[in-house]
Symmetry: C2
Subunit: 456 residues, 2 copies
């Protein structure tokens, strides 16, 4: 590593705070709501433009949905670093809860407020600032850098698998920096090395051609809402054990090292209890290591939604002909969504629920990066000068995402660094980034690119 270069890059980034914030504000002023399509095309072009300005060759690639921005610039070394980001944002609703409008970026108390200020445009701008700092020091980048910036991350990346499949060789790289990252409640930066998979299904019961009067059919007609209730009850009991035969077969328990990583993280229990107003956790968990372990290393079966019959005010004596449940299974290594789906279907039929249709609404397998990959140590250590501490390792997070495409299909380590913090109101009203975190993220990214070029 080049301490002198890193100090100069830090100074460059500090000196350009206003420019960096202004560029972020400009990107955030452009709506890009993937759920509705609002502003998507202009946002993709906007992101392409800021990369072209940095000397990247950029293509806005069409997909069956929103376009993917792919950008590439050669560097001094042939080693290649790939950044995965997204230019789309969550819908800004409920609008009335925003102190300033979501697409009118506002700087207050050292924070920039806007939809996308953190997720994901803040991360993107921190990478751009890092590139600027590197290019200020040298006319060429130290290594080859690629960006894949999609427009559908907030709607589960439905077209990214095909894009990756069709462009595997263009996407080839020696490592990937993932779209999120930042610091925890204590200001310590985090390195997240895996995501659970997901198998999201809708269970659909249909018991008749149309609803009946409950006074007529209550004793004699099948009721879709009861069929659904019993089918759901067969999946998981109050002991929280999922009853689908073979469901747990492929589960790899966390290693001793994983548990060590978890042990080093702060206890999330007080925050969860207070923020969600919980009386307690499931399975008698109280906090600490066991809670952290259960949160990410256990597979789940969650009812995300129920709908049947009359749901308005007061009473209506109706016997519903249809009922539906949204159910998500979070999967841990080495569970596979397709295998779980088949086991679910077989089990429901075996339990006599052949009348329940199981529709797959989405799936992503779990994926983890080896904590011993040299890129992990590089990124973890590069944080030390910026944050006063190396990153804490989060061996896996409870959520799911398209990281498996990079880890498993493209075969590269995926690591995280970024500009977030727990108070950033991501996906919520008054989303914001702390400007100090934005600069820290830029400095961290600049170090990572620079050191990565030296080989790691």
């Amino acid at each position: 590593m080049n301490r002198d270069l890193e100090a100069r890059m830090d100074a460059y980034i500090d000196r350009h705070e206003a420019t960096i914030v202004a560029e972020l504000a400009q990107l955030c002023a452009q709506p890009s709501v993937s759920a509705t399509g609002e502003g998507i095309t202009a946002a993709a072009e906007g992101v392409a433009a800021v990369l072209r300005r940095r000397g990247f060759e950029v293509r806005v690639e069409p997909t069956r949905g929103h376009p993917v921005v792919f950008a590439e610039r050669a560097g001094g070394a042939e080693r290649t670093l790939l950044f995965y980001d997204h230019y789309d944002v969550q819908p800004p609703e409920p609008l009335e809860e925003w102190i300033t409008p979501p697409f009118a970026p506002s700087l207050r108390d050292g924070k920039l407020f806007a939809r996308g200020a953190s997720d994901n445009k803040g991360h993107i701008v921190s990478r751009l600032a890092a590139l600027d700092a590197l290019l200020e020091a040298s006319p060429e980048l130290p290594c080859r850098v690629k960006f894949v910036i999609e427009g559908e991350e907030e709607i589960s990346s439905p077209n990214l698998p095909a894009f990756v499949e069709d462009n595997a060789s263009r996407l080839a790289a020696d490592g990937c920096i993932w779209e999120f990252g930042g610091v925890d409640e204590e200001g310590v930066p985090l390195q997240t090395l895996g995501m659970r998979g997901i198998c999201y299904v809708e269970l659909r019961a249909r018991s008749a051609a149309h609803d009946a009067h409950s006074g007529l059919g209550g004793s004699i007609f099948p009721n879709a809402a009861w069929r659904l209730t019993w089918a759901l009850g067969s999946l998981k009991g109050e002991d929280e054990r999922i009853r689908i035969p073979g469901f747990y077969d492929a589960v790899v328990p966390p290693s001793a090292e994983d548990l060590e990583f978890l042990r080093a993280l702060p206890d999330p229990a007080p925050h969860y209890l207070a923020h969600y107003g919980l009386r307690g956790f499931l399975k008698g968990l109280r906090g600490g290591l066991e809670l952290r372990r259960e949160t990410v290393f256990s597979p789940t079966c969650t009812i995300c939604g129920l709908t049947a019959g009359y749901q308005g005010k007061g009473s209506k004596t109706v016997l519903p002909a249809q009922a539906r449940a949204k159910v998500d299974f979070r999967l841990v290594p080495n569970q596979e969504p397709q295998d779980i789906l088949e086991k679910l279907r077989d089990y429901l039929v075996a339990q006599g629920f052949e009348d329940i249709e199981v529709a797959l609404l989405g799936s992503e397998p779990p994926a983890r990066t080896d904590p011993h990959h040299p890129l992990v140590a590089l990124v973890v250590e590069a944080a030390r000068d910026v944050y006063g501490a190396p990153q804490r390792i989060v061996p896996m997070t409870g959520g799911s995402g398209p990281n498996y495409l990079f880890v498993r299909r493209l075969g590269m380590p995926v690591v995280t660094l970024g500009v977030g913090y727990p108070g950033g109101q991501v996906h919520a009203p008054n989303e914001h980034v702390v400007v100090a975190n934005l600069l820290q993220g830029a400095k961290h990214a600049a170090r990572v690119i620079s050191r990565f070029a030296e080989g790691a």
Copy 2:
């Protein structure tokens, strides 16, 4: 009975067909939607006016909801016959399915189409026509006649119990003619002698202050939708047996005579299977007596509605903090709603579901009229000349209503006669009454009043 009088009344009614239909069309042209309040006041005044025109003393009595029209006229005998009817109607939606607008009555093919043409304005007009026929024959009615015509029947009569309690002596009578009646699929008139009770509750689960991300909380946070699913599953299993201890304790099985009544009714199975597109009935029922028995003499536990979390298109990875179910219990003699409610609450607590709130949304106890009451035989036999057959006895129907106020609180027999038929689209688009049924209902009512005055 006075055969000559009855023949003259029949002739009067036949002669006045156009006037009778015109009066019904006039009442139906006035909307009176209790659910929304549309036209309620004008409709109450309209019903009051048609009774005043027949020499009744009429008061439009305010309640905490829609007014009750109470009317009374003395007659030759002191015996008193009370008519219970309602001037309110179901909402007409979906409007686009009406061939002619719901509040623009239209006469086609011997049927009058309008919202309320059958339920309940057709019944009201048939009673008025009967009074006219009686008053044509004699300047005074043969007995005292009272009407209680409420405006909230279609919304479960929430204010009728208090009205009956406050006006018990004014409502005193020797018998009550209920608001519905008519013929079955074979054109044979029916005498319905009882209604199941109902205890309608909402089960409410709340597991947190607000929803969580399913990737975060799936393994560790309580989930309101799961709590609700398990609580519901504890109430009834796939064997259809309700598991609340003591639920069946008070059930009085149908008598041998009840079963004889049921045996004499047509088999509803083919109609149910075809109309509702059913693959079959519950409990292996195939039709015939066993199906009829189960339909009305079994208590039920019906899920009428389910709501939780995300119910829109596609997937949302949310862990719901709230979930609700609407559940109706239909009760048979001698089950009581309050007792069932307490047993339900106790049971849920005993099963560990103290977190599930049970809100009572409505209740009516079951009530039956003794088939051996002389009024029953009078009404059943009075049908013979009009329909060519006496009424068939339906010992109980699966629905619920405020008949218990008259049977149990006021202590009078409640019997049915009227103008309906199974194709009348009651509560549905294109509701109508067959004019021939309207006239039959009037003739039947005229005979009943006349014979009742002679003592029965």
